[in-house]
C-alpha cells in the first residue's frame, strides 16, 4: 500500500487539535427547566469538565473518523497489485481485407489467432486493445477480462484505409518497451524485422499473393469548349506472371469506355481515355478479379474537374453572355464603376473590357482594348482599320487559329511594352500582347473578340478559347481523395452521405474525419447543390500484397524485465463511500436528537 500524495497527511495535525478542543469544549445545549434540583445529582456523572475523564460520545468518534478518512482520501491511498497487462495491436488496415488461399480474410485469421493467444495467456492482467488504421490508437480503456477483450475485438472491422507503417512501428516500440505491458500481441500482415522486441508476439496473417490494382483514376478537361473529359487510369501488376487485364469505365451506370492491356510482372501501365462522355460519376473496374477486390474498383466524379471562374468587368454586359456556354466556365459580370479588387478573390481569370484596373490584378487577366493606364503603361494607337500582319506560330494563344479568316475592323495597336511581348501584330504595332508579372499571366488584345459566338465565328472562338485556356492554366488533373485522409468540408455543406447511405453532420471549414471507406460521398447543404466526392484506396504500398515490407521496430537495448507489473489500485473511492455512509449515519442521529430535544 502506498500514498499518491503523502503531503496531505499533514492535515492529520488537525486531529489532536480537535481532540483537545473537544476535551475543553463547553458547548452544551441550553435548556430552561422548572428546577435544577434533580439535576444536581447528575453532576457526579459529568465528566466533561476540563481535566476530567472525557465522556465517550459516539458522535465525536464518528466525526473524528470522518475527518481521518477525508485526510486519508486526500492522500490518495492505493494498494499494489501484481498483474501482467497485455496489449493487443490488431491491424485493421485495408490490406487485411485480402483473401487467404485457405478461405477467409487476413483479418479473420488475425482475430482468430489473437483470441487463441489471449486465451493461452491466462488473463492475469488488464488487456488493452489497439488498432492500426486509420491511425494507431487504443479503442477503449483496458479491459479487465479476456471475455471483454474478445467482445471488443469481435466488433472491430477492417477499414478501406491504409495504415501508417511508421506510426505503427512507433506504437509497437512504445508498448513493447516493457514499461506498460508484460506482453504485446501484434496481429498484422506485416512481419517484424529482426531484432523484434522480446515482449512483442507477432502474428503474421497471410502469405504474399499476386494482385492487380487500379492504382490511379484521374479526370481532366483539356481545354475550354470541350465537354468530354480525359481519363487516365494506372494499372499495376503485383504478381509474378504476365496478366491480360481489362478495364471498363461506367458513367452513371452506363458503359462508356473500356481498354485491354497485357501487364508484365511488376509493370504499371497508364491507360488513357481521351474523350469520356459527360457523366456525373465514373466507375472503373479491373478484371480479372483477384484476392483483394478493394483495389479493383475506383471511382471518379466529373465535379472534381474544377470549373474556371471568370470575372468579366465590362461596361457592355451583353459581351459576356456567350462565355457562359463554354463548358467548365462560370462567368460573373461586373460594371467597371462597381468593381473592387475584392471581387478578384473568387476569380480564376479576370477580363477587363474597355477598362483597366487601378493596380496590377493578382489573378491572370485578359485586357480587351484597354485605355491608357498607369498600371500596365500601354502605348496605344487607335486605328479605324486593323489588319493582322504576323503571329507567332508556336504560341499557345495562336495555336490552331486561322488568322486569315479573322474579320477585324477598328481597334488599336500597342506600342512597345516593357514586359509584354506581341504574339500577334499588325502594321501599326502589336495586336495581342502576352506577358507574366508576379507569377500571373496577362494578355492584352487591341481588338474585341467578344461576344463569344462559338461555331458561328470559329476562328475568333478558337482564339478566344486559346487565350482563356492559357490564362486558366488548364491541363492539370483533378485532385483525388484517398481513404484515411480527412478532407475539408466546403462552404455551405452541412451533411455528408456516406457510401453505405448513412447521413452524417458536417461543419463547413472543418476536416471530415470519417473517410475510411472507399466509395462516393455525397456532400450537401441547404444552399448548395449536392457534390459527389470519390474516395479511393489509391495506395500502391497496400496493393502490393506480394511484397509486404516488414516493420522495423526500434526498441531500447535492454528492456526492463516485465514478468509481472505492479499496478496501483486506488482505494479512495471506497473511502469516499465510507465517508458518505458515516455522514448519513451522523445526520440521522443528529436529526433524531434534535427532534427529541424539540419536544421539551
Amino acid at each position: 500500500m502506498g500514498l499518491l500524495y503523502p503531503g496531505a497527511l499533514v492535515f492529520f495535525a488537525i486531529v489532536p487539535a480537535l481532540v483537545l478542543a473537544y476535551l475543553a469544549r463547553e458547548r452544551p445545549t441550553r435548556v430552561t427547566v422548572s428546577s435544577v434540583l434533580a439535576f444536581r445529582a447528575l453532576r457526579g456523572f459529568r465528566k466533561e469538565r476540563y481535566g476530567g475523564r472525557p465522556r465517550f460520545d459516539w458522535m465525536f468518534l464518528a466525526e473524528l473518523l470522518l475527518l481521518c478518512l477525508a485526510v486519508l482520501a486526500m492522500a490518495g491511498p492505493f494498494v499494489i497489485r501484481r498483474s501482467n497487462p497485455i496489449a493487443v495491436l490488431i491491424d485493421n488496415s485495408a490490406a487485411m481485407q485480402a483473401s487467404m488461399p485457405e478461405g477467409g480474410t487476413r483479418f479473420q485469421d488475425a482475430v482468430a489467432k489473437t483470441e487463441a493467444m489471449l486465451l493461452a495467456s491466462g488473463g492475469a492482467g488488464k488487456i488493452s486493445v489497439y488498432v492500426t488504421a486509420p491511425a494507431p490508437r487504443r479503442i477503449a480503456p483496458p479491459y479487465a477480462t479476456i471475455a471483454q477483450a474478445r467482445r471488443a475485438i469481435s466488433r472491430i472491422k477492417p477499414l478501406d484505409a491504409p495504415d501508417d507503417a511508421t506510426a505503427v512501428a512507433a506504437l509497437l516500440a512504445d508498448i513493447g518497451s516493457g514499461a506498460h505491458y508484460g506482453k504485446v500481441i501484434f496481429a498484422s500482415s506485416h512481419a517484424i524485422a529482426a531484432p523484434a522486441p522480446p515482449l512483442v508476439h507477432a502474428i503474421t496473417s497471410g502469405d504474399p499473393i499476386p494482385n492487380l490494382a487500379l492504382s490511379s483514376f484521374t479526370l481532366r478537361r483539356e481545354m475550354f469548349g470541350a465537354e468530354a473529359l480525359h481519363a487516365r487510369i494506372e494499372v499495376s501488376n503485383f504478381g509474378t506472371e504476365t496478366k491480360a487485364i481489362e478495364v471498363t469505365i461506367d458513367g452513371d451506370g452506363t458503359r462508356v469506355a473500356d481498354a485491354r492491356e497485357s501487364l508484365a510482372p511488376g509493370e504499371t501501365a497508364a491507360l488513357e481515355f481521351p474523350s469520356l462522355p459527360p457523366a456525373r460519376i465514373y466507375r472503373a473496374v479491373l478484371s480479372p478479379s483477384d484476392g483483394f477486390p478493394l483495389d479493383n474498383v475506383a471511382n471518379a466524379t466529373s465535379g472534381a474537374v474544377r470549373a474556371v471562374s471568370i470575372l468579366f468587368i465590362t461596361p457592355t454586359p451583353a459581351d459576356a453572355q456567350g462565355l457562359s456556354t463554354i463548358p467548365g466556365a462560370e462567368v460573373k459580370t461586373v460594371a467597371p464603376d462597381s468593381f473592387t479588387p475584392d471581387d478578384l478573390k473568387r476569380a480564376d481569370v479576370a477580363i477587363f473590357e474597355y477598362s483597366a484596373p487601378k493596380e496590377l490584378p493578382l489573378v491572370n487577366a485578359l485586357l480587351v482594348m484597354p485605355p491608357p493606364d498607369p498600371v500596365f503603361g500601354f502605348a496605344i494607337k487607335p486605328a479605324s482599320q486593323i489588319d493582322i500582319a504576323g503571329w507567332s506560330k508556336t504560341d499557345p494563344v495562336t495555336d490552331s487559329v486561322n488568322f486569315r479568316m479573322l474579320n477585324l475592323r477598328s481597334g488599336e495597336f500597342f506600342g512597345e511594352h516593357p514586359w509584354m511581348s506581341a504574339v500577334v501584330s499588325g502594321q501599326g504595332g502589336g495586336l495581342i500582347l502576352r506577358g507574366t508579372r508576379q507569377d500571373h499571366r496577362y494578355v492584352a488584345t487591341g481588338f474585341n473578340p467578344f461576344p463569344y459566338l462559338g461555331k458561328r465565328n470559329l476562328p475568333m472562338s478558337v482564339l478566344t478559347l486559346n487565350m482563356l485556356s492559357y490564362l486558366a492554366g488548364l491541363g492539370a488533373s483533378s485532385a483525388g481523395y484517398r481513404t484515411g485522409e480527412p478532407f475539408l468540408v466546403p462552404a455551405g455543406v452541412t451533411e455528408v452521405t456516406m457510401p453505405w447511405g448513412r447521413k452524417m453532420k458536417a461543419q463547413p471549414g472543418t476536416l471530415f474525419q470519417n473517410v475510411n471507406t472507399q466509395g462516393i460521398y455525397e456532400l450537401s447543404g441547404p444552399a448548395v447543390a449536392t457534390i459527389p466526392r470519390a474516395v479511393n484506396l489509391d495506395d500502391l504500398a497496400v496493393s502490393d500484397l506480394s511484397n509486404s515490407q516488414p516493420l522495423k521496430v526500434e526498441v531500447a537495448p535492454a528492456p526492463p524485465s516485465a514478468a509481472s507489473f505492479a499496478e496501483k489500485a486506488s482505494i479512495s473511492p471506497w473511502i469516499l463511500l465510507a465517508i458518505v455512509v458515516l455522514g448519513a449515519f451522523e445526520a440521522a442521529i443528529v436529526y433524531r436528537r434534535r427532534h427529541r430535544m424539540a419536544e421539551v
Binding site: 428546577s35 435544577v36 434533580a38 447528575l42 430535544m597 419536544e599
Partner: protein, 299 residues
C-alpha cells in the same frame, strides 16, 4: 364553558357537585353550613350537658336525666357551619416549564375544581396566588357556586412568573388569615424539601387541615428530550448546570424526581396532611376521580 377550562365538562361538574370537603378537625365558620362547628348550636348532633339556668329553653331539658338525678340539665348540640377553604396556587416561574407539560394550566384546573367543590357545598373560598405575574386575585372569600365563573376569569389572567420561598410566603399568608379552616396548596414543590416542610408545617401548627397537591409534568419527571451535553437553567433562580445526559443519567434524574415526591409524601403522611400527586400526562378527570381521598374530599 363559561370561561372554565376545557376539562370542566357538564359531566365532570356533576361529579364535582357530588363531592364535599372533608376535614379532620372542626372549624368555626362564618355562617350556616354543612360542617360541624366547635360552637354549640342547633344541629341534631349531641354535644354536652350543662346545668339549667333560668331563661334557658326548657325544650332542651333532659327529662330522663332529671328523673334519675333529680337535677335539671340542658342538652347542648353542635353547630353546623360553613368551612373556610383557602387555596394557595403556586404561580412561580417553575410552573411554566416544561412548556409542553402545561403544568400551570393543570394547577389552575385543580384549584378551580377544589373551589367548585367548596362553593358547591356552601363553603367559602379564598384563593391566594403565590408569586406569579399578570392580574391579582383579591384576598376575599367567595361564596356561592356561581362565583366559580368569576374566579375562573380572574385565574385565567394569571401568568406564571417570579420566584418565592414557600415557607416565607406561607408564613406571610398565615399572618393574614384570621380564622382556621381547610388549606389546599397547589404547587410543583420543586424546591428544597426544608422549605416545603417548614411552609406546610406552619399551617399544621396553626391547626389548619392541609392538603398538598403536587403538579408535575410527565416529560419533566422522565427527563424526556434531554440528550447529550445540556446546560440546564433554573427557571426561577437562573442557576445553570452543565450536564451530559445519556440513558444512565436520565434514569438517575428520574429516580431523583421520584425521591423528591416520595419525601414530600412521607412528610405529609407523618404530619397528618393530605397529599396528592398529579402528573400532567394523566387525564385530569381521571386523576380527580381517583384522588378524591388523597385530596381530602369525600362523597
Amino acid at each position: 364553558m363559561l370561561g372554565l377550562p376545557d376539562e370542566f365538562t357538564p359531566q365532570f361538574l356533576t361529579r364535582l357537585e357530588e363531592l364535599r370537603i372533608r376535614t379532620r378537625r372542626q372549624y368555626a365558620g362564618m355562617g350556616k353550613g354543612a360542617h360541624l362547628s366547635p360552637k354549640r348550636g342547633s344541629s341534631l348532633e349531641f354535644s354536652d350537658y350543662r346545668h339549667y339556668s333560668p331563661g334557658d329553653d326548657f325544650r332542651y331539658i333532659d327529662w330522663g336525666l332529671y328523673g334519675r338525678s333529680d337535677k335539671l340539665y340542658i342538652k347542648l348540640f353542635k353547630e353546623e357551619e360553613d368551612l373556610l377553604t383557602y387555596i394557595f396556587l403556586d404561580a412561580s416561574a417553575s410552573m411554566a416549564f416544561p412548556a409542553s407539560d402545561r403544568k400551570f394550566e393543570r394547577a389552575v384546573a385543580t384549584a378551580l375544581a377544589i373551589a367548585y367543590v367548596a362553593l358547591g357545598s356552601g363553603d367559602r373560598v379564598m384563593l391566594r396566588v403565590l408569586a406569579g405575574a399578570g392580574a391579582k386575585v383579591d384576598p376575599v372569600f367567595l361564596y356561592g357556586r356561581h362565583r366559580i365563573v368569576e374566579l375562573a376569569q380572574k385565574m385565567r389572567a394569571i401568568k406564571p412568573g417570579g420566584e418565592y420561598d414557600l415557607a416565607q410566603a406561607l408564613a406571610r399568608e398565615l399572618h393574614s388569615i384570621r380564622r382556621a379552616g381547610k388549606v389546599f396548596v397547589v404547587s410543583d414543590f420543586l424546591m428544597l424539601l426544608n422549605s416545603v416542610t417548614r411552609g406546610l408545617g406552619l399551617f399544621t401548627a396553626a391547626t389548619m387541615d392541609v392538603t398538598a397537591v403536587q403538579i408535575l409534568g410527565g416529560h419533566e419527571v422522565q427527563g424526556q428530550g434531554l440528550e447529550g451535553d445540556v446546560e440546564v437553567v433554573d427557571s426561577e433562580s437562573g442557576e445553570s448546570l452543565r450536564v451530559a445526559i445519556g440513558p444512565r443519567e436520565r434514569e438517575q434524574y428520574h429516580q431523583t424526581m421520584l425521591r423528591l415526591t416520595r419525601e414530600i409524601k412521607q412528610f405529609c403522611t407523618k404530619r397528618g396532611l393530605h397529599y396528592a400527586l398529579h402528573l400532567t400526562d394523566q387525564q385530569f378527570q381521571d386523576f380527580f376521580a381517583r384522588a378524591v381521598t388523597d385530596l381530602g374530599l369525600a362523597h
